[in-house]
């Protein structure tokens, strides 16, 4: 897929003047070697967090949802905050793999595999919360529209939670298929490098008999483009539908038409930040400096600042609409957001999502990978708080002042949040061990530049 339009003056996407064999070798190295001490440390820490989360959720299911800090006024807090946060994180993967693919943004080849994996794991984390936040999670299957023996009992198609269920399950399915299809050539490469044995048998099975023939490649390219086309609307739809959970309600602060674009932009924003966080770590710990270069970081930083601008605009629009609507409840909610008991959360959100990313306007900042790492963490924190602010500050003081209440998380809720990070990182670290973190087949197409093609085999 060499691109004749590529300008010769453009920096190569992959540094180090790699041959294709070197690419394969570099990327497959972690799969061949024994895990490093650093990997073990990270894995055990993640596993410990996951264990904590499993304990917290088991306790909550055994004892009751009352072990969370919710009350009669604030019916959702950490649970749905975490859900929306993880769904948001899960956005960057599809964006990078599908939309950037269709737009021929070839730098994406270095990060798309990991971003898609991140998407899958984030959606897995997200998918947990709608289930465990139920009062009776053992009845979660009632959300499925399946024929049953309970008379004409059916689900409520007017409920945004049902739409959520469809949106997320579709998104997860498409993302998984997309990721897996993209993985096929690489699995075949790994298979071919593996000696006979159990592992090879599994890889043979997983690579679906990939033989690298012209026909196989042709089919592969067609399927990949089609899937990219299918996945593209999902990037927009999933978070749009998630935002309807709020936008279709009557609660001031939730009931806003700006929510779908606002949520989608926020999701891309947080997803990009999470990709940056993960890639910067992977780059330095897995020796991928030649593949994930300063240029990649630079491009992603630009996306971050762009989406930060959209998010900031949405924040401002909310306040403007409150003022312009002359709706006293709406006005109160936003005054309460900025000045009320949860003002600290609001200003954390503004600081992390609007102010801090402004530093990325400077090339020097974008080139300083340590600083970018810190900034990306700040954005992750800020985006978590954005969902917290939307959910909790809108609920805790709505229409009738007699029912206004406070909210504070319990240790169980904090442990559940930590557990979701544990699940995410456990999955991600296993992914780094068992799957090539960079799409080898794709990246080989951008090795070198047309002016100075990559070395031959």
């Amino acid at each position: 897929m060499s691109d004749a339009a590529a300008l010769p003056v453009r920096e190569p996407l992959i540094l180090g003047d790699k041959s294709l064999a070197e690419v394969t070798g570099d990327i497959c190295r972690p799969l061949d070697a024994r895990p490093t001490a650093l990997w073990w440390a990270g894995f055990l820490a993640s596993l410990a967090l996951l264990g904590l989360g499993v304990a917290a959720v088991s306790y909550q299911i055994a004892v009751g949802i009352g072990v969370w800090g919710l009350n009669r006024t604030v019916g959702w807090a950490f649970d749905i905050t975490n859900f929306v946060f993880w769904i948001g994180i899960g956005h960057a993967g599809t964006l990078i793999s599908a939309i950037l693919f269709l737009f021929r943004q070839r730098w994406r080849t270095s990060v798309n595999r990991a971003a898609e994996a991140m998407t899958l794991f984030a959606v897995m984390c997200a998918g947990l919360f709608p289930v465990i936040h139920m009062g009776r999670p053992w009845l979660a299957f009632w959300m499925f529209p399946y024929p049953n023996t309970r008379g004409s009992l059916w689900i409520n198609f007017r409920s945004p939670l049902v739409w959520d269920f469809f949106a997320i399950s579709t998104y997860f399915t498409i993302s998984l298929v997309f990721w897996y299809v993209g993985l096929l050539p690489d699995l075949a490469t790994v298979r071919d490098r593996t000696r006979r044995g159990f592992r090879r048998r599994i890889l043979e099975w997983l690579s679906l008999g990939w033989n690298g023939s012209y026909r196989t490649w042709l089919r592969y390219e067609i399927v990949y483009v089609l899937l990219a086309g299918l996945a593209t609307p999902l990037v927009v739809s999933v978070h749009t539908i998630v935002s309807w959970d709020f936008a279709t309600s009557v609660i001031p602060g939730w009931h806003a038409t700006i929510f779908p674009p606002y949520f989608v932009a926020g999701a891309i924003f947080s997803g990009m930040a999470m990709v940056l966080t993960l890639m910067l770590v992977a780059r330095s710990t897995m020796g991928l400096q030649h593949y994930i270069t300063g240029r990649h970081v630079d491009v992603m930083c630009k996306l971050v600042i762009f989406t930060s601008g959209i998010v900031a605009f949405a924040y401002a629009t909310e306040f403007f609409m409150a003022l312009y609507s002359a709706n006293q409840y709406e006005q109160f909610v936003f005054r309460n957001r900025a000045l009320g008991p949860f003002a600290w959360a609001y200003w954390t959100m503004v600081g992390c999502n609007v102010l801090v990313p402004q530093l990325l306007w400077f090339r020097r900042v974008r080139a300083n990978l340590g600083l970018v790492f810190v900034l990306s963490l700040a954005v992750n924190v800020g985006m978590w708080f954005e969902r917290f602010v939307i959910i909790v500050t809108s609920l805790h003081r709505d229409y009738l002042p007699s029912s206004w209440a406070g909210y504070a998380p319990t240790s169980i809720e904090v442990a559940t949040l930590a557990g979701s990070f544990g699940l995410f990182f456990t999955c991600f670290l296993l992914f780094c061990r068992f799957v090539p973190v960079i799409a080898m087949a794709e990246i080989k197409s951008v090795v070198g530049t047309p002016a100075r093609p990559g070395k031959d085999l």
Binding site: G64, G66, R72, W154, F165, L395, Y399, L400, P401
Partner: protein, 1017 residues
């Protein structure tokens, strides 16, 4: 064209009888031996066994139904499973003795309701009365007599007591019987008989919440120590001075009903009494007042003197002789009040709860000047609801201190708990040789007593009541005693060698003493049956000659300077809270969890301070302060209580509710769910709240609840109070709270009401863009709540809790804002001239036609019925809580834990018609769907449509003010349809267009029209 293939010639030629082999493998029948008729063959056996096994397994896969439903071997008369039986009886929860109808299901009472035929309560019942049902099923009640703390037999205890009494009788020793007010004529007569058998015996009556000064004052002015009956319904102008007559004072249910009658807003001009209230703390009576003025504790005397002087001037009487100085309240409105009182001579009423006899004498003087005696105040047909004599109590204490009492019997009172530290009853009582308590459940006095002869719960006992002269009612048992308790009247009779049971004693007394007062004359049997059936009968009252009208009484002395503390000092106001009264129901979790109508605090008492006082002390809500009484008095006492900041309270008052810190509340340590972060359900002292009764002052022959000077110092500790309405919602930073008014409650002056035209009906329910989801072609149930009638007394809250099996969640859960009440009473303050105005708004599911909760439930667990109910389907609910989030009224309640308890006795109170909810499901007001259904079924059985007069919700039935009306909004003849046309009608948050089925009628204040005041809060 397909080709046909064949296998054989036969097939190709295909004769009639040729059967292809692939169609039937065995053309001729198989040689299977037919089963012998009546036997089960091998196949049949296997089929049956397989089916049986599969069926058994399948049936075992689900939780089986209750397997202990055993039918009656001999069905008791009157007990029909599933059918309720109603009995009329008398409430024994306090001495007001309201009439009751008890709902029995399967032989056990499950709900108390006011008896509409009772002349005093007229169908209302207060929160305490509603909740007293749970006392019946209290596991901690005495199960039988105790002898020195150990269970004993009645024979044993009787023998001991009889011999001890005989010894006292023989040597002429002093026997004293100390009781609370006794409204039972039979018990009074029996006590009289019993005491008469002793040479030196006296019956001392006191009330923990005493009104002794009123009786003493009438003894002075009218020559008769009696508590008059007050007729609030006939009063056009009411002045209350420190008398919470709608909340806790004497007979609040009766007074509430009367008060509401006087403010019914019927006719043109609308009937609306004028009510002025002078008080230090904020009471629910004060919240209803048209003019409420804060006075310092101890200023009741000067205020009444000033009022009396102004009324006397109008009456042409030069009283008082000297100068009375400046009034402690603004003079002009006081003049206005005096003018209104004078203009309404004979139809006005001045009441005071002050415990200073001199002040009460002035109160009587004012009423006399106004000609109220014989009209709004009836001294000839007095009330017996407070009969205590504090002076006699003082004498008893002196006797006890002198060691002159040989035997002390204590009944219907808890003096070791509720008497002031001055009297030191607990120490003195230990010196008495024979101390017998009749307490039905463990209390502080019973703990001291050598013998405890537990009385029945009133629902187990035969008794009677005459709460007001001429109004007698029967108390009949509605189930056999649960434990081995015995009625007091039986115990006393037994000790006089009279072995008759209570039933016979009551009946005999009625035949001999009450029946002769009955006119018209009828056979006693008929009279008795009527009394038992109806619950209450009217009797004649012998006219009394002595009732001096007061004209001959000398002019009273003015009380110019009260015991008010100096400027800047703080003084106490000890008051009975609406839920706890004097603490006699402290064991009742329903009442402990009932939010106080004013403070909204549950499970605790607190020291209320005005915002200014709190600011000057530098304390915030929840700060624990040490309250010390001043002076070198030996009875100086100290309490440590959390602060509650109460707008509308006088700046020099510290208001503390009584009735807390009762022994036996330690049982609530583990009330509520237990989990990792749960907190105990009691305070640091191991009890619910702290007893403030030791701070009561015994002075001038009466128990004084107010006016004691105290010092307050912060301790530096904090307690988070379990309030159901976050108090800081009203002390918000200005920039947050200055949002515009919310259309939640409406107020209007009475003048605006008569001027206002009903709004045209078409504008309210305008057509929307979309067709109606719910056209309500038949009935639409709706509820209309008259905020003007509502006093906030919270009877409906408890009634709802009893009717709908609403769990008690405990202090920690309330603190986490997880109370479960389906019906709550929202309380909103507005600034008034020198006080605050308060609106009480019962808030429950609004049964919206465009219900936001219904659209968001993913599993259709909340749906709309064709007749307008928003229904919650518990067993379909998965607990996403989305509905609660989307409810603008926040009336939905979630089962965060398993709140139901496995208490076999207590659970007998559960209403079998209402599901006990499990953990993880949402619940909310069902508009008493079970009652609507019952009405519909019985109407169908009669073959006629259900009318809204057939059915009343639990809250509606209980309301003493009749503020709640249920009905069919679609029926133009229904009460609700008429109310919905009222100019006061409004819907909360109407602009959301959720089209609620619950509407409200605006509060009306009898004030001059003030455009700034009318409107929204």
């Amino acid at each position: 064209m397909s080709r046909r293939y064949w296998k054989s010639i036969e097939e190709r030629d295909g004769g009639e009888d040729w059967l292809p082999a692939d169609r039937d493998e065995f053309p001729e029948p198989l040689a299977v031996l037919p089963d012998a008729p009546g036997t089960l063959g091998r196949r049949g056996f296997l089929k049956a066994a397989g089916f049986g096994l599969a069926g058994t397994l399948a049936a075992g896969c689900q939780r089986g139904p209750v397997s202990k439903a055993i039918p009656f071997l001999n069905q008791p008369e009157e007990v029909m499973p599933g059918r309720a039986t109603w009995y009329a009886t008398t409430c024994g929860a306090c001495s007001a003795a309201c009439g009751l109808l008890v709902k029995n299901r399967d032989g056990r009472p499950i709900k108390l309701e006011g008896n509409p035929q009772h002349p005093l309560s007229r169908g209302g019942l207060c929160a305490v009365g509603q909740a007293s049902l749970l006392g019946l099923y209290d596991r901690w009640r005495h199960r039988g007599p105790l002898k020195r703390g150990q269970p004993a037999s009645w024979a044993d205890v009787d023998a001991d007591i009889v011999s001890a009494l005989a010894a006292i009788r023989h040597r002429g020793g002093a026997l004293r019987l100390l009781t609370g007010t006794i409204v039972s004529p039979t018990l009074s007569a029996t006590i009289g008989r019993f005491m008469a058998t002793f040479p030196n015996a006296r019956h001392v009556v006191y009330d923990a919440i005493s009104s002794s000064a009123i009786l003493d004052a009438h003894e002075r002015t009218h020559g008769r120590r009696a508590l008059p009956r007050y007729h609030f319904g006939q009063a056009a102008v009411i002045a209350g001075v420190d008398a919470d007559f709608l909340g806790t004072w004497i007979s609040p249910v009766e007074f509430t009903r009367g008060y509401r009658d006087g403010r019914s807003l019927e006719g043109n001009p609308p009937r609306c009494s004028y009510h002025a209230q002078f008080e230090s703390g904020l009471t629910i009576t004060g919240t209803k007042a048209d003019w409420r003025t804060r006075i310092a504790p101890g200023e009741e005397g000067p205020v009444l003197t000033q009022l009396a002087a102004r009324v006397a001037r109008r009456a042409g009487l030069a009283w008082p002789a000297g100068d009375v100085g400046m009034p402690p309240v603004p003079g002009a409105p006081l003049d206005d009040l005096a003018g209104r009182l004078w203009a309404a001579r004979g139809a006005s009423l001045v009441v005071s709860g002050c415990q200073d006899v001199a002040v009460q004498v002035i109160c009587n003087f004012v009423n006399h000047l106004l000609g109220n005696y014989g009209r709004t105040i009836d001294i000839n047909r007095p009330s017996y609801q407070r009969g205590g004599c504090d002076a006699a109590l003082g004498e008893l204490a002196a006797e006890l201190a002198a060691g002159a009492v040989d035997g002390l019997l204590v009944a219907a009172a808890n003096p070791a708990y509720d008497l002031p530290a001055d009297l030191d009853f607990a120490t003195l009582a230990r010196r008495v040789d024979l101390l017998v308590s009749f307490a039905g459940s463990p209390d502080e006095t019973a703990a001291l007593a050598g013998y405890v002869c537990p009385d029945h719960h009133y629902l187990e006992a035969w008794s009677d009541a005459e709460p007001a002269a001429g109004c007698a009612s029967i108390t009949q048992p509605v189930l056999a005693p649960i434990g081995g308790t015995r009625a007091i009247v039986e115990s006393l009779a037994r000790w006089m060698d009279d072995a008759r049971p209570a039933y016979e004693l009551v009946r005999a007394h009625w035949e001999s003493a009450l029946f002769p007062r009955r006119i018209p004359v009828e056979p006693f049997e008929t009279f008795w049956d009527t009394a038992v059936h109806d619950g209450a009968v009217e009797l004649q009252v012998a006219p009394r000659e002595s009732a001096a009208s007061g004209t001959s009484a000398p002019l009273p002395d003015p009380v110019a300077a009260g015991a008010a503390p100096p400027e800047g000092a703080l003084s106490l106001v000890l008051y009975p809270s609406v839920g706890q009264l004097d603490g006699r129901h402290a064991h009742n979790p329903w009442l402990q969890e009932l939010p106080d109508p004013i403070t909204k605090v549950t499970w605790d008492n607190c020291a209320s301070l005005s915002p200014d006082a709190a600011a000057s002390l530098g304390v915030r809500e929840g700060d624990v302060v040490r309250i010390e009484t001043g002076g070198p008095s030996p009875a100086a006492a100290a309490l440590e209580l959390p602060v509650y900041i109460q707008p509308g309270q006088h700046d020099r008052a510290v208001a503390i509710p009584l009735g807390y810190g009762r022994a036996s509340t330690e049982r609530f340590t583990r009330a509520g769910p237990h989990w990792l972060e749960s907190q105990p359900g009691v305070g640091p002292n191991g009890l619910v709240g702290i007893n403030a009764a030791p701070l009561i002052v015994f002075e001038g022959g009466t128990l004084r609840y107010g006016g004691r000077a105290v010092r307050i110092a912060p301790t530096g500790r904090r307690i988070e109070l379990a309030t159901t309405q976050r108090h800081h919602s009203i002390i918000e930073p200005r920039q947050v709270s200055s949002a515009g008014s919310r259309p939640i409650v409406r107020e209007m002056p009475v003048s605006a009401l008569s001027a206002q035209q009903p709004p045209p009906g078409a504008t309210r329910e305008g057509r929307g863009l979309w067709p109606d989801d719910h056209p309500y072609s038949g009935r639409r149930w709706g509820l209309i709540i008259d905020l003007n009638a509502c006093t906030g007394c919270s009877a409906c809250v408890v009634a709802c809790q009893v009717e709908n099996n609403i769990p008690v969640v405990g202090r920690d859960e309330v603190r986490r804002q997880r109370e479960m009440h389906w019906l709550r009473i929202d309380r909103y303050f507005t600034d008034a001239d020198e006080s605050v105005d308060v609106v009480h708004q019962p808030m429950l599911c609004q049964h919206c036609a465009n219900a936001p909760c219904e659209t968001v439930c993913p599993v259709l667990a909340t749906v709309h019925s064709a007749d307008g109910l928003n229904q919650q389907v518990y067993n379909r609910c998965v607990g996403t809580r989305y509905c609660a989030n989307n409810c603008p009224y926040k009336v939905r309640r979630f089962n965060w834990f398993t709140y139901a308890r496995a208490d076999a006795v207590e659970n007998l109170v559960l209403n079998p018609d209402v599901t006990v909810r499990t953990r993880g499901v949402m619940e909310k007001c069902s508009l008493c769907a079970q009652r609507l259904l019952e009405a519909r079924i019985s109407a169908r059985a009669r073959g006629e449509p259900a009318r809204d007069t057939d059915v009343r919700t639990a809250c509606e039935q209980s309301c003493p003010a009749g503020a709640i009306v249920l009905g069919d909004l679609n029926d133009p003849a229904s009460r609700v349809a008429a109310l919905a046309k009222d100019p006061r009608y409004f819907q909360v948050l109407e602009d959301l267009n959720v089209r609620p089925g619950v509407g409200y009628l605006a509060v009306v204040r009898n004030r001059d029209a003030d455009p700034g005041k009318a409107g929204h809060v």
